[in-house]
């Protein structure tokens, strides 16, 4: 028989509710879009991201392991239940292409690099993401560039080091090419 009581501060247990997530996402809409499709360059779209990914990123923002001046305040007071609801809501939204300025030559070079560096084995062959691994296809170009540069410099907070290691072999130019390729894909 189970007899566990949980303090308010501990990780709760609950079933995620996407409808509650829609209501809770109202403050997020001005930056990430009402349906998780952002239009501001440098701000990521959340639509169609796997639930584990969004949930883990929100935990990291709340606990200060990932920091961003614009974003951090909005995660500071989220409960575990809020995060699960928000993640479920965004996962159910259809991602749309961003209006990034793609350089076709760079994107073509990036395609080959994505194969060579096994990006697909974690991000899936269509780069749609899975579980704790994010969708890259059709994500905002400026955002992809910022994050890849951060992983390469070992300054982007990463759950347990897998993505940081994956970015190490990429040169500065290669990061450009890979980002253009990912941004050019239809989400």
């Amino acid at each position: 028989m189970l007899v566990a009581t949980l303090a308010a501060s501990s990780a709760g247990v609950f079933a995620a509710d996407p409808e509650a997530g829609r209501r809770k996402s109202e403050p997020c809409a001005k930056c990430h879009g009402a349906d998780g499709n952002a239009t501001i360059a440098g701000t990521p779209s959340l639509a169609g991201q796997p639930t584990f990914f969004t949930h883990w990123q929100l935990i990291k923002f709340r606990d200060g392991r990932r920091k961003d001046a614009q974003m951090s305040p909005f995660a500071a007071n989220l409960s575990d239940e809020d995060m699960a609801d928000l993640a479920a809501f965004y996962a159910a939204q259809r991602p749309r292409a961003r209006s990034s300025a793609i350089d076709p030559a760079k994107a073509a070079a990036g395609r080959e690099l994505v194969t060579r560096h096994h990006c697909a084995s974690c991000h899936t062959p269509t780069l749609a993401g899975q579980k704790q691994v994010p969708r890259l296809a059709g994500q905002d170009l400026q955002y992809l560039l910022k994050l890849l540069r951060g992983f390469k410099a070992q300054t982007a907070s990463d759950l347990d080091g897998t993505m940081t290691m994956a970015a190490q072999p990429l040169t500065v130019d290669e990061i450009e090419n890979v980002a253009h390729y990912c941004a050019s894909l239809r989400p």
Partner: protein, 403 residues
Amino acid sequence: MQRSLVIAVSALLLGAVTLWLIPAQAQQPTPPPSWKQGQPPSLADSSLAPIPQPPAPTPASEIPVNKIKLPPGFKAELWASGISNARTMTWGDKGTLFVGSRVAGNVYAVVDKGGSREVKTIAKGLNLPNGLAFRNGTLYIAEISRISKMEGIEDKLDSPPELLTVYDTLPKDLPHGWKYLAFGPDGKLYFNIGAPCNICMPPDTHANISRVNPDGTGFEYFAHGVRNSVGFDWHPVTRELYFATHGRDWLGDDSPSDRLDVAPKKGLHFGYPFCHQGDTLDPEFGKGRSCNDYVKPLLKTGPHVAGNGVMFYTGSMFPPEYKNRAFLAQRGSWNRAEKVGYRVMMVTLDGSGKVAKYEPFAQGWLQGQEIWGRPVYTQMMKDGSLLVSDDYAGAIYRVSYSR
């Protein structure tokens, strides 16, 4: 000071000093991601990838604890749940169970309220705080590059004191950077510094078990050539260190084996990255080496099983033959087509310290190819029953025995 000592020791042991002064990542022009290193071209299209950690624990009502299979007379119950990513467990003097985590970044205190358990989060946002040890009222916490402490924590569970740094000049690498932490019989804190990769020539500062005094002085390396050991204990009679090590990935489904080792003294080399499982040279780093130059495993525990917790049983609840047996918690494989591990094994040593028996104790977290939990560490309760932590379901089970 430490660095020059290390270099001297390493040079004696292994030779290639110049290589080691270069950080691991700089050695190859384009290394693949750590977990892919050493993957043969024939496996380039493999879809095997590390198993993701769910961001929230499994609700108690969905944890099928009755699926845990044990020897006759033993029974398992769900002791606590809702503990995201629950891993290492250590007791406070006043009966608080402290629980560490990895990716959740939390440290928890579980208070037994006679029949019910209260779970408090006493630290958040830490950098993979897997290592916990307790002595004289103080909780020690090991993150990636720092060991710190909370003094008098058991009296302040609702307003935990600030973390004071004990030792923070450890490598910052995330891959295999999370630590196991335990007090040795000499009163020193022991912990691992894993290889920052799957397979590579580690820098002189990595792939070892190290120790430091609880006041942060006297840092030294204890065992070398250890890829990553995140579980160890000392034999109750001989006081020797027994430790589990995860073997490298991508050498095939059945190779190499994880291992259980004994380190009766300081300074031994256990083979990584040159020799795996005591008898298999690494296809790349083993060239020109001999496995006879390194300590061989006491026991090959199985390929990819991911041996974490090691704990000698000293309680009185279990039948007398259980005394001084070692429980090995195996978190389970990802780098293998058919999953293995996901169980607690037990090792019986004979009078000369050889392995007399290696057999399953608790299993059932793996059903076919589906997993519902991953046992990571074991800890004894005062009454001699056994706690098993499960980081996947975020739960702790209690195993008891009655005739």
